[in-house]
């Protein structure tokens, strides 16, 4: 049993479209993830694949119109809504994507001390200074406002705040795209170090190349479903070690791996197909694929939601 287990998570938003016409958006359907202490799992997929919603769900931050089902457990106990509220900021912590999550009107010191207070440190001022020092920031940074920080420093400050409660599970939203590559590399290496020191780390990103440099395993999301959970070593060569056709297409679309553009787009959450969500774009599709949602099947240390796992070699290679 891993520290965090997410099994068959579904999230539906109920909205009123026009007047009293209700519509349901199936934004997450059949999402699986497990992370253990000391492990870094990257969650990759296109925007709208459910990556951020997973984090929001684990932190108990889904909006009131969200309906959720599935099994979530943390440290062997069910992760109930009350327990999520209790654990967040302490045992489960989020490193947000941007500096926009800092208060522009408060100094860095005030914000880190506030986080230390929430995390119930006996001496918040001392804990704040120490947290910043651990991220290689001098005490004089405490007097600065967020706009006075460089991109790299801001990233270290939000990391310091996220880690001040000594979380056992860290959810990291990807560093903002377009940030200088050295800042992104530093952010990824920090996450790797945290995992090596015993934390469980979930890295949410669309940057497959960056994720592969630090992750132990990769969860590939598509249209709100975990299509594959594979060890990082499966992302190699022509991608034939990957089980799901979407994971292979993602790998082969990288500029260095062929730059192949699989046609089509993710299905709309307003109108999901009844069968496999990837069926309309899949090169291996057969009639059975459109009948029902494929269950997760394991081969070795890889799990995928595809009924054609055993046929893939014969057809593609």
């Amino acid at each position: 049993m891993s520290l965090l287990n997410v099994s068959n998570l579904s999230v539906t938003f109920v909205q009123y479209a026009r007047g009293l016409r209700r519509q349901s958006l199936e934004v997450v359907t059949g999402l699986d993830l497990s992370v253990d202490s000391g492990e870094l799992v990257a969650v990759v997929g296109a925007s709208g694949s459910g990556k951020s919603l997973l984090a929001h769900s684990l932190l108990g931050l889904l909006p009131a119109n969200a309906r959720e089902s599935g099994d979530l457990s943390f440290d062997g106990q069910p992760l109930t809504p009350a327990r999520r509220r209790q654990l967040r900021g302490h045992e489960i912590s989020l490193i947000p994507q941007t500096v926009a999550s800092l208060d522009p009107m408060a100094t860095v010191g005030a914000q880190v001390r506030r986080a230390a207070q929430v995390a119930q440190h006996v001496d918040p001022a001392e804990a704040a200074t120490q947290a910043l020092a651990e991220r290689h920031l001098d005490p004089d940074v405490e007097a600065r406002y967020p706009h006075e920080l460089s991109g790299g420093m801001a990233r270290r400050v939000i990391t310091a705040i996220a880690l001040i409660g000594r979380p056992r599970l860290i959810l990291a939203d990807e560093p903002t795209p377009g940030l200088h590559p050295s800042i992104v590399t530093e952010a990824l290496q920090t996450l790797r170090k945290l995992a090596d020191e015993g934390s469980a780390v979930v890295l949410i990103t669309h940057d497959l190349t960056g994720a592969l440099t630090v992750a132990d395993r990769v969860a590939v999301f598509y249209a709100g479903t975990t299509v594959e959970l594979a060890p990082t070593s499966a992302f190699t060569g022509d991608g034939s070690k990957l089980l799901h056709p979407y994971s292979r297409a993602l790998w082969r679309a990288l500029p260095g791996n062929g730059f192949e553009a699989l046609p089509g787009a993710q299905p709309s959450p307003l109108d999901l197909p009844g069968g496999c969500l990837f069926a309309d774009r899949c090169p291996l599709v057969i009639d059975e694929c459109t009948v029902s949602r494929p269950a997760a099947v394991s081969v070795g240390d890889t799990t995928a939601r595809c009924i054609r796992i055993n046929d893939r070699q014969a057809i593609e290679c």
Binding site: V44, G45, A46, S47, G48, S49, G151, P177, G178, L179, H180, P181, H206, L208, T209, A249, L250, W251, A253, L254, P255, G256, F259, E260, A261, L262, P263, G264, A265, S268, L270
Partner: protein, 209 residues
Amino acid sequence: MLTGDQLCFRYQPGPWVIDHVSIAAHPGQVLGVRGPSGVGKSTLARLLTGHLSPNHGQVQLNGAPIPATGRHPVQLIGQHPEFALDPRWRLSRSLDEAGPRDHNLLDELFVDDDWLSRYPRELSGGELQRLTVARALANQPTAVVADEVSAMLDPITQAQLWQVLLRRVGEGMILVAISHDDALLDAVADEVVDLEAMQVPFARGASGG
């Protein structure tokens, strides 16, 4: 040919962001521009597409200055489609701004008809970026400057957008591709220049003041 000759630009008051940069992009070719952040890549993109005017130097298309009115023959596509589309307009209105709809182009970009009746906040970044590309290409621009257009996209959507852009280049369009992603530039560009190395400080002499 799209040329910038001895371009200089600064945001007043401030240091020179673009300092005597000369650049030339040819029809049917992709000119890649790389450089660390803060070196002026996005400013150069805005100068080439007429969103900013240089303090010195001139941007020319096929040897002539670009007319200040009418449809701009050099289109800019940026990194953040959510800033390039009016949040209060349905996407059909933003798209139709560029003229009659090109349904083949929308199919090429895998744009779903349903998206057009929605507002920008209802679509993902990848879906919105397909629409800004569709709008930029709607009038067969002579040149396109693509400034980190796929930095926030997953690899498949990135490859799809670049295939559409490269197809236009095959038909003779000029494309300037700005990115910090060397693997991407290696895959798309015919020639790659480093903006930092192209800056020529002090060449301004007495006129710099």
